[in-house]
Amino acid sequence: MAAHKGIWVFLEARNGSLRDVSLQLIGEARRIADKRGTELTGILPGWKVESLARIAIECGCDQVFLVEDARLEFYTSRPFTKVMAALRWKYHPEVILFGASKNGRDLGGRLHAAIDTGLAADCVRFDVTEEGFLDMIRPAFGGKSLAHIHCEEHRPQMASARWNVFPMPKRDPARTGEVVRETVAFEDSDFDTRIVDFRATESHETRKIDDAKILVSGGFGLGDPKNFALLEEFASLLGGAVASSRKPVDLGWVPKALQVGQTGKTVRPDLYIAVGISGAVQHLAGMQEAAKIVAINNDPKAAIFEIADYGIVGDLFQVLPEAIRQLKAFKAQAGAALPREAAPEGRPSGA
């Protein structure tokens, strides 16, 4: 095997900026590159995106390979795969990381077959082994452990990670690095995909749980899709949003946009309340950074309690209605207190 060097991150440009997940990966890849003692390179196919290359360098890239072509303005699978493959064979990187956006997964999936190498999806952590391999860490099937994935004999070692798994890096304007313009030989067939339409969706629909400060999340323990209504009432009394673990999504009870976990979203709310959720590692991966965690479950041995700040062991069908009752009572009481505090001017307020 020829000597492979260098950590690469695929940089996804969209509507004039780099996707957050690409920047988050730069932050993590920088750490890995330092540990490995090698360079970090961003790969940026696009059109009129040189300023984004600068941002990538400020966030931690030592250099950026810029491939510009008007036909690369919007992502399509074949030309982007061609770019990555051509550069791979030119430079022999040891690692390529992708943000697991829809396009990132579209690209990584096609590329790994085209260049015959391994791709570990949805990693929650990276490390470097003693031998210098990339240690790609993700929750294991079974919900109680972490698997360490290695790609020992194939290069490059490729992996993806989802939004918010890694923090946003700080931009350092003083950082310097080179922007290298690369050209790739395309064929007509690379551009046989036409984008004929685009309809933006209401952003709040898909980002509902990403930004919420309080999340009330339901799991398989709810037993029935209609019981999510209880969660909604509870959440709205707290001023929060409803989320879900994986099983209710797989069973079709709630849309995928609400899924928190390794294969859903990673969230960092101020308060995360897990109702009827057992606490499989895949789920914890998506919410363990919440400031405060509350668990409600009738199984005292549920793993979720090990990560909770507060917990109630009990039947959620008794606990939730009780919580709703008490919150309503508290609100009513707080409301009743107002007239006293809002006494009109010039008049003494109560005795």
Binding site: A120, H154, D197, F198
Partner: protein, 272 residues
């Protein structure tokens, strides 16, 4: 297209996988791969959506639906169900040497099977599986075949001999148009998969609609498949080290427990 067969319409291949039903999965401690025995199974739900999409396309444009799967012989159950739902015939690539395959040999094997079926216009897959969730196999097949792909489609149609797919991506619905043959992966939950019919079940019972292929039948060497042919391996499995938390658990009856909880959260200034 299928003009040469004297029939109008397109030949669609739907790749399906049999997965444990939406419940606890278990890993075999020796091979560190998924345990598949003794748990009730179903067709991977996104693959059901893909099959439903294929059935709708055949209703509209005519043609043939072939289902393909890779796995142990127990996967025949899913191929039978797919045919009972309306697919025309099925192929199972089954071989001990395929055990432990990651997405590279899986995509390769399915690609070889698709080529052996021949004259395929459209390959449909679910966007990902509920057990492994990588989403790599659909695009991987397209990468091996060097044909166009459209992923995460909630709607697919044929327009002037080209395939149009509406992709559901983060900020909206993006419609792509590509020539055939191509691979399309289907958004989980975008349609209601139909039930098997009595007529379909009778066709299955009459037999002869499912063929088994070995890896050798597809010209695959043992070194290209299974654990040996997989670039990635699970090097080890750790128990999780969880960050330590306060861990104040209330076991009193609901009214008291809730009251104590809300009080604590207010004191922490997390709720109003």
């Amino acid at each position: 297209m299928m003009e040469s067969a004297g029939k109008k319409g397109i030949r669609i291949v739907v790749c399906i996988k049999q997965v444990p039903k939406a419940q606890e999965l278990q890993v075999d401690p020796v091979t560190k791969t998924l345990k598949r025995v003794g748990v009730p199974s179903e067709i991977n739900p996104p693959d059901q959506n893909a099959l439903e999409m294929a059935l709708a396309l055949r209703e509209k444009h005519g043609g043939e639906i072939v289902v393909i799967s890779m796995g142990p012989t127990s996967f025949d159950e899913s191929l039978e169900r797919a045919i009972a739902m309306g697919a025309d015939r099925g192929f199972l690539v089954t071989d001990r040497n395929l055990g432990g395959s990651d997405t590279v040999p899986t995509a390769l094997t399915l690609e070889r099977a698709i080529e052996k079926v021949g004259q395929v216009d459209l390959v449909l897959c679910g966007e990902e599986t509920t057990d492994a969730s990588t989403g790599h196999v659909g695009p991987g097949i397209a990468g091996h075949m060097d044909i166009p792909q459209i992923t995460y489609c909630s709607a697919v149609d044929l327009v002037d001999g080209r395939v149009r797919g509406v992709r559901m991506i983060e900020d909206g619905a993006e419609t792509w148009e590509v020539p055939m043959p191509c691979v399309v992966t289907v958004d989980f939950g975008c349609n209601n998969p139909r039930q098997p019919t009595l007529t379909g079940k009778i066709r299955v019972k009459r037999g002869g609609l499912i063929t088994h292929w070995s890896a050798a039948d597809l010209g695959l060497e043992p070194s290209q498949i299974g654990l040996k042919g997989s670039p990635t391996i699970v090097a080890k499995v750790d128990t999780v080290q969880l960050p330590s938390r306060q861990g104040k658990i209330f076991e009193e009856e609901p009214a008291i427990a809730v009251s104590l909880l809300l009080e604590s959260l207010r004191k922490d200034k997390v709720i109003p």
